[in-house]
């Protein structure tokens, strides 16, 4: 008994001590706390308060009657969703494209960063790097237009095909090419930008490791495999986890600008569907339900992969 009381008292005083320390800490570094305030307010106002609006997923939301005046329908929207044939198609497309992006698009900047790292002529390296960054600053509307033009009847791809005697193909209206085009155009646009973090991580690697490796007779390739890559792994893991949390969020802009009705069956994803049904046709409840569903999946994936990563002590939290 006495022991227990002692432990309790200890705990209590510990708590007090902690809060005391927090107050002290705030007093001491009040400027820093002040500086973080806008960020906190931002998250509360733009992330947490809108989160409350998710309740309309459980309502038959009527825009003129507001959340208070709209009837509650329980899980109807979700049941409708799961029974809705189009939704299955949309979900399958989203998952498949996400998977392809993860397999092909995610490693691309890593490889490119390793290649950049091997370029010894500084001017060349900087120039090439800048050239690779550039497409990132174009909007998808522009890139979409370029892709359509390149693959048009008179476009360069078909012109080359013609030179070799093949009939032109209208790639943008063929289901078979759609996902490939999405992945390739995505890599083209974002690969350079993606290298920035990796390059920064590479610079942080201690040069003495390379020196040691050289003494041991490792060539450039071996150095990359046995030094650079392993030391990059924590960065890769963190970026991978951040990526997996957004697994089903492919980015509306890209797909929307590449999609045509002929490729709906392979390219219509959650975001484009939500845009059509929600923003254009005003079905707010159904689309909120989809959004919620998407977030829950994202969270579950993030949690699972974080658990796995923590086993090697590299998780996000």
């Amino acid at each position: 008994m006495e022991e227990q009381a002692k432990v309790l008292a200890q705990n209590k005083s510990r708590k007090q001590l902690l809060s005391n320390r927090l107050v002290k800490n705030i007093r001491k570094h009040w400027v820093l706390y002040l500086m973080i305030l806008p960020g906190i307010i931002y998250y509360i106002v733009f992330k947490y308060i809108p989160l409350l609006g998710s309740v309309i997923a459980f309502q038959d939301y009527q825009i003129f009657n507001g959340i208070a005046g709209s009837p509650w329908v329980g899980l109807d929207n979700f049941i409708h969703l799961l029974n809705y044939e189009d939704f299955h198609e949309v979900l399958r497309n989203t998952a498949l494209i996400a998977l392809y992006q993860l397999i092909f698009q995610f490693p691309a900047p890593i490889i490119l960063a390793l290649l950049f790292n091997e370029v010894r002529i500084l001017i060349l390296k900087k120039t090439v790097q800048s050239l690779f960054y550039l497409p990132h600053f174009l909007s998808w509307v522009v890139v979409g237009g370029i892709v359509f033009e390149l693959l048009a009847n008179q476009g360069i791809v078909n012109a080359i095909r013609e030179m070799f005697g093949y009939a032109p193909i209208l790639f943008m209206q063929e289901e078979a090419y759609f996902r490939t085009i999405v992945v390739i155009s995505g890599i083209w646009k974002e690969v350079g930008w993606g290298t920035i973090i990796y390059l920064a991580a590479i610079t942080a690697i201690n040069p003495s490791l390379y020196e040691a490796a050289v003494i041991d007779g490792a060539n450039r390739f071996k150095q990359t495999i046995y030094i650079t890559l392993p030391l990059l792994l924590p960065t890769i893991t963190v970026l991978f986890l951040l990526n997996i949390g957004n697994f089903l969020e492919l980015g509306f802009d890209q797909i929307f600008n590449l999609l045509t009705p002929m490729t709906y069956s392979v390219g219509d994803i959650i975001e484009t569907y939500v845009y059509r049904a929600g923003v254009l046709q005003g079905q707010y409840s159904l689309t909120t339900a989809i959004g919620l569903f998407q977030s829950v999946i994202g969270f579950a994936l993030l949690w699972i992969f974080n658990r796995l990563a923590r086993k090697s002590e590299q998780g996000l939290w």
Partner: protein
Amino acid sequence: MKKNYYVFMLAAFLMALLLISGCSSNEEASETPDESGETGNSEGSDEAAVVTVFKSHMGKGTKPDSSSEHLQYVKEKTGVEYELMTTPPGSDPAEYINLMIASEDFPDILRPIGGVEQTLINQGGALALDELLPKYAPNAWEKIPEEAWNIVRTASPDGKIYYIPKVYMIPERAALLRKDWLDAVGMEMPKTLEEYKEMLIAFRDQDPNGNGKQDELPTSGREFGRWMDHLFAMFGVAMWEGYPEWDIYNGEINYAGTSENMKAAIAFIRELYAEGLLDNETFLNKGDVWAAKVNNNLVGSWYHLPANLGEKITALREGNTEPYIVGLPLPEVEGFEGFITQKSMGEPEWIIPKASEENAINALKLLDFFYNPENEEFVTYGIEGMQHEVVDGEKVLLPSSDEKPLVLGMANFTTDETMKVRIENSFPEEEQQMITDIFEVSKADARRIAGDGMPSTVYEGYPDIQSHKLFQEYLTKIVIGEWPIEKFDEFVETWNQSGGEEVTKRVQEWYEKAK
């Protein structure tokens, strides 16, 4: 040293705060009437009321501000200032209007798009106009025929009038043909489907644009299978810019998209596509690409608005061709009776949100100005120097341009006579006959469809049926040859199962009521 650092930080923080508050607080200003009060305008003792009008799909021109002479004149006559609210360039009007409603940022009067009027009516967001209209907009009330008002009444569950309808007594659209191409290949106007196809083949092979290259696109359309209605019209399919409409099929009002006529039309279009007679990029053509093809002397037969041909003729002239465009009388197809779809009445033109009730009287006054016969002259010609100039004692309209302010109007009431005036005003003399002739051809083929004025409530709960998504997918895939024509039967079945049957039932009930 340390103090300086704190002061700097504080300043940075204040800046951030200012930025945040500055971005969020300029909302209210627009609702209240302008109080800055320009110096002139001494006679009206009261400040003029400001009515915000939302309208999308504006033509060429800049947004006029309140000092515009044109708006000042309207203000003088009505005591109301017309303030235009429109979509930014490149944005989707349906998206814009939904966001506007969601943020409760209502204009005083708006032109609904994409079926938004039904949301307003069903959720009590629209103002009933039965009593206000005869009182404050007597001219509009009188001018719009009773038939149109009756259609408007059927669009609401309580039988009230919630919007001012558009009235278009003549067909707006026509099947267009390059007569100079037809002459170049030495052929007569096609009378049957076979002759039409032969003409297209000649367009493809005989270089009617005379540039020595085989770059002609005998006929073309736009993405989603839109704006190629002429190819459907021949088979008696009710089509509205590529959206299948509702008309009498099998003795009852039915969706044109699932009719036998449609199947035959798609089979024909598929054939044209396979032989390169229909632009193979049709389903990838965005509006501007399509227009550029027509303007660059590449397309022989297409479907569009004859009243907007001016731009195309100018563009073709700039490319050193002298185009002669005629209406294509729909070629005969065995077993089908072709027609050009005409929707004359009941399409919503203006609706007043309940939230703007206070300003409704002013909004109606403004609206009535444009329907008032006394103002006809002003509505057509506007202000001298801005919209027209006087040549030999006659008023001549000036062409619109990107630099000049838009001419704001509100009436959408077109009859034979008003179109005649419009043609006379907007086309040079030598082209007027050409445009008039096109309308004559189109009028001869046009027919008002049974579904004219049908409210979009029938689609409630079935957005995919409303957006014609399924239809577009099957149409495009069958035409490009990815699917065989037999797939059409599967489409009919799927369409019925995914809500089409229920919607059809509602349409038939509505038709009984409205007939």
